[in-house]
């Protein structure tokens, strides 16, 4: 892999790690608030919002840590990519239904809430980084398990 490929790989990996460790940590710090943010989407039955809020932050944290440590990178990216797809679908549904809500992506009580449309663009950007990490990881070590 070229030096540009290596820089792109590590930069993308570290950006994703930072984003998801931060996102997971602030949500895990206030599960109830995060449950309220999920409930604002009006997709899940009420109690299920708490189930998702109780588990999702730890998944983001775990995958973010693996990316930071450069271990099990492709399994972590696969999980995050699947999560990102779900986020994008949820945000799309909020945009289509005209909901004026905070996306709930990061700090639940953020002073400047992120609209679903802005969060949608950000998630699409993250998806590009995930694809880059997946492909460049493969180019780096195609025969390795991870």
């Amino acid at each position: 892999m070229t030096i540009i490929g290596k820089i792109t790989y590590h930069a993308s990996r570290l950006i994703l790690a930072g984003v998801f460790i931060y996102a997971g940590a602030v949500k895990a710090n206030d599960i109830q608030d995060f449950a309220g943010q999920i409930a604002n989407y009006q997709i899940l039955p009420y109690a299920w919002n708490y189930l998702v809020a109780a588990t999702l932050p730890y998944l983001e944290l775990l995958c973010g840590l693996l990316l930071l440590l450069n271990m099990r990178v492709r399994p972590a990216v696969l999980v995050l990519f699947a999560l990102n797809l779900i986020f994008i679908l949820a945000l799309l549904s909020a945009v289509v239904r005209g909901f004026d809500i905070d996306c709930g992506c990061f700090k639940p009580d953020a002073q400047q809430p992120t609209t679903p449309l802005a969060a949608l663009w950000r998630d699409l950007g993250l998806a590009v980084l995930m694809i880059a990490v997946w492909l460049l990881r493969y180019a780096q070590m195609p025969k390795e398990i991870d």
Partner: protein
């Protein structure tokens, strides 16, 4: 048995992704078991309900007099008992939300138009009546703020149902629309 579509490497990655997901779920549920259990069993979601959080925020944000009362939180499980004792449900959401669906028997008193409706409300509802406010579930502060205002106006028993309309509706409890 080998899949003709997925290479062994990809299958290994998928398997590890599943293990990661299960591990994170186990950790999350382990740390928040009580919260999730309470949410599914219709109880108050934690020992430190939104009312505590809101009361702290209120005391930090505003200069308030000593002795200001805060409404007491009630769970869905307790609500039936209070309603049987004659409590009045008060919907603090917007009129539009109230029209689209509310707890059976609730009256509308939106926080946003409280000043305009308060005198009329006080004429109809005696100060001794037990009141239970609600709004759009957890994370919605309107029911708490309405409860504080009603206590300030002299109502003696004011409580907040934190689960609000979404929890009540999703539990299959009776709801009404405004035109019913």
């Amino acid at each position: 048995m080998n899949s003709p579509v997925l290479s062994p490497t990809i299958r290994r990655i998928v398997l590890e992704a599943v293990i990661l997901s299960v591990l994170a779920c186990v950790v999350g549920l382990g740390l928040n078991f009580k919260l999730v259990f309470n949410a599914f069993s219709g109880q108050a979601v934690s020992d430190t309900p939104v009312v505590d959080t809101m009361s702290k925020a209120l005391t930090q944000d505003k200069e308030i007099e000593d002795g200001l009362l805060f409404p007491f939180p009630v769970s869905m499980g307790e609500l039936d008992e209070f309603l049987a004792d004659g409590a009045l449900l008060i919907d603090s959401r917007s009129v539009e939300d109230y029209h689209s669906g509310h707890l059976a028997g609730a009256v509308s008193l939106p926080l946003g138009s409280l000043d305009a409706q308060l005198e009329d409300f006080k004429q109809k509802v005696p100060l001794e009546r037990m009141l239970i406010t609600y709004c759009s579930g957890y994370g919605c502060p309107d029911s708490f703020e309405l409860g504080v205002r009603l206590l300030e106006e002299g109502y003696q028993e004011v409580m907040v149902y934190e689960g609000g309309y979404p929890e009540w509706r999703d539990a299959g409890k009776p709801v009404e629309k405004a035109d019913q």
